[in-house]
Amino acid sequence: MTAIIDKVKPSDDRPEGASRLRRLLGQREAQLLLVLVVFTLLVRAGGAKGFLGPTHFPIFLSQVAPDMLVVIPMAMLLIGGMFDLSVTGVANLSVVLVGWTFSRLLGTMDDTLLIILVVAIGLTAGLIVGAINGLAVTRLRMNPLMTTLATWWMAQGAATGVAGGESRHNFVGSFRDIARFQPLRDLGETFPFLQEMRISTLPMPVFYAAIVIFLGWLILTRTRFGWHIFATGSDRQGAALNGVNVNRVTLIGFVATGLAAAMCGIVWASRLTSAPPNTLGGLELRVIAAAVIGGAALTGGEGSVLGAVLGLFFMHMIRSATIQLGLPVYWEFFVLGAVLFTAVAFDAWTKRRADTQ
């Protein structure tokens, strides 16, 4: 066996110097981070001096946060080889159910209890739609694209139906805290630097997003379930033959995405203290595009939480930059489309290059 051992090249687990740097730059996340930095410098040079500066950044984070709740489970669903168009409908349904419940039950019970009930109802809607999506795709073997398009329309239709053309405004004041409470406010008085850097003004959704990001990263890279998600997306049959419960992975993925979309709706309802059934528009494609820009493959098996985070940052930065530079806002979608096109073209190019090697 010694002759055999000699034939084996040492594996480069810890590449040194240049090769390490090259490997780092070969990572989608590093490339994207570089693009974001260059983009920020260009926007600043172009006249928007405060872009992502100390005043803008906390506001930017709180704007990104509701989408961030959804992009993480969506990225995990994509990595598992599935995707979910229904999130916008689910989020809007959750918004409307929150408003409707408030308008019906306000005054009949303790406010805190009512808020808990409202949140529970919103999340239950997400749980149900997510479970329907997951069971339809796994048990009935329905196509995920058509299934989630159908449940999107059903959820959206239920939202407008329940709203009945009105927007509810009968909110309990403390319900606003779900989106507006600043948990570090008091800490900012003790530590002035937190106030100077505006960290003490960060509202709750930023912290929800941080928790979701951390959990997503932990699950995906540090748990068996995370590896099972990758395995399922990489080769569903192969994973199943190796004992991975692929249907469970898919079902949990859809349920998590549904719950996250519902939470996104709750945050928006709290932010607006109003419940129009068209609160969220374009959420589904925004988060799918963000995950794909961040390196998630529509064919499954590839992607990362960090990539999805950076991808979503990029999409919101484009929106912010368009406004701050005073460019015609109507062109925003053109730019987003161009960025998505470039990302997908880049993916195809790297795959082609890798295949011919």
Binding site: S11, F230, G300
Partner: protein, 260 residues
């Protein structure tokens, strides 16, 4: 229903060799109206290579999938180490020490060698993945096999056919499988890689594994196997000992020409 060859082979075997590690008898399996297997028989001993041959659609892959737990058989009996075994899932099969390397390898192309070695059986430490240990073990396993992998962190889609095959077999060997089911291990390989793969399989035999190899390539079959089990229309028509036969007879049994 057993043909003379089956009896002859078995009687010949019993006297000289230990009991088979795996016996599957009277196995039948239908998919709707299609009877994929009816009365299939195969057995294999430790340190023995049995080739499973037959025409396309003869039921070879179905029989392998029954043994590996991917399909549930409708009737028949499977004995592992002399004990009746209930194989209803891939995990049942795995727990009995049976491991399968599929024709399409069942590898995860976007995942690295480590993830492929451990898929479904990841090592954990206090609930979280023990990635360091899995990497170390993967390096050790790769060194044991005669294979030339660039790094255990290479995604499998960047590996050659032979390297992928080696990863698939490394996975199986690493988990201490005693009974290996190899489905067309050389089908997708070039001449040189096929040669390396056959040598690898012979190494596994020397490590006292019981090996069933499905193959279309009779030259490969005759190079490595000890016995040849022939399936036709889902039925075992006979098991031949390599020294007692030649490829002409095997072909006749595969096609049914000898019974006409």
């Amino acid at each position: 229903m057993e043909s003379a060859q089956v009896k002859a082979a078995r009687e010949d075997g019993v006297g000289s060799a230990p009991e088979p590690l795996l016996i599957a008898r009277n196995i039948s399996k239908a998919f709707g109206h299609v009877q994929a297997l009816s009365n299939a028989y195969i057995d294999v001993r430790a340190g023995e290579i049995v080739a499973l041959v037959g025409d396309n659609g003869a039921g070879k892959s179905t029989l392998i999938k029954v043994l590996s737990g991917a399909h549930r058989h409708d009737a028949g009996e499977i004995l592992v180490r002399g004990q009746p075994a209930a194989i209803n899932s891939p995990n049942d099969s795995f727990n009995l020490g049976i491991a399968t390397v599929y024709q399409d390898l069942a590898l995860l192309p976007s995942r690295d060698v480590v993830a492929n070695l451990y898929v479904g059986r990841e090592l954990t430490n206090r609930g979280l993945l023990d990635r360091r240990k899995m990497t170390e073990e993967a390096n050790r396993v790769v060194r044991q096999l005669r294979t030339n992998l660039p790094s255990v962190h290479t995604p499998v889609r960047f590996l050659s056919g032979g390297q992928r095959q080696a990863v698939a077999i490394a996975r199986v060997v690493h988990f201490g499988a005693e009974i290996l089911l190899l489905d067309e291990p050389t089908a997708a390989l070039g001449v040189k890689e096929s040669h390396e793969m056959l040598t690898l399989i012979e190494n596994l035999k020397d490590q006292n594994k019981a090996i069933i190899v499905v193959s279309h390539n009779l030259a490969h079959v005759f190079r490595i196997c000890d016995r040849i089990t022939v399936l036709r229309h889902g039925e075992t028509v006979g098991t031949l000992i390599k020294e007692d036969t030649d490829s002409t007879e095997v072909v006749q049994m595969i096609t049914g020409a000898d019974l006409l």
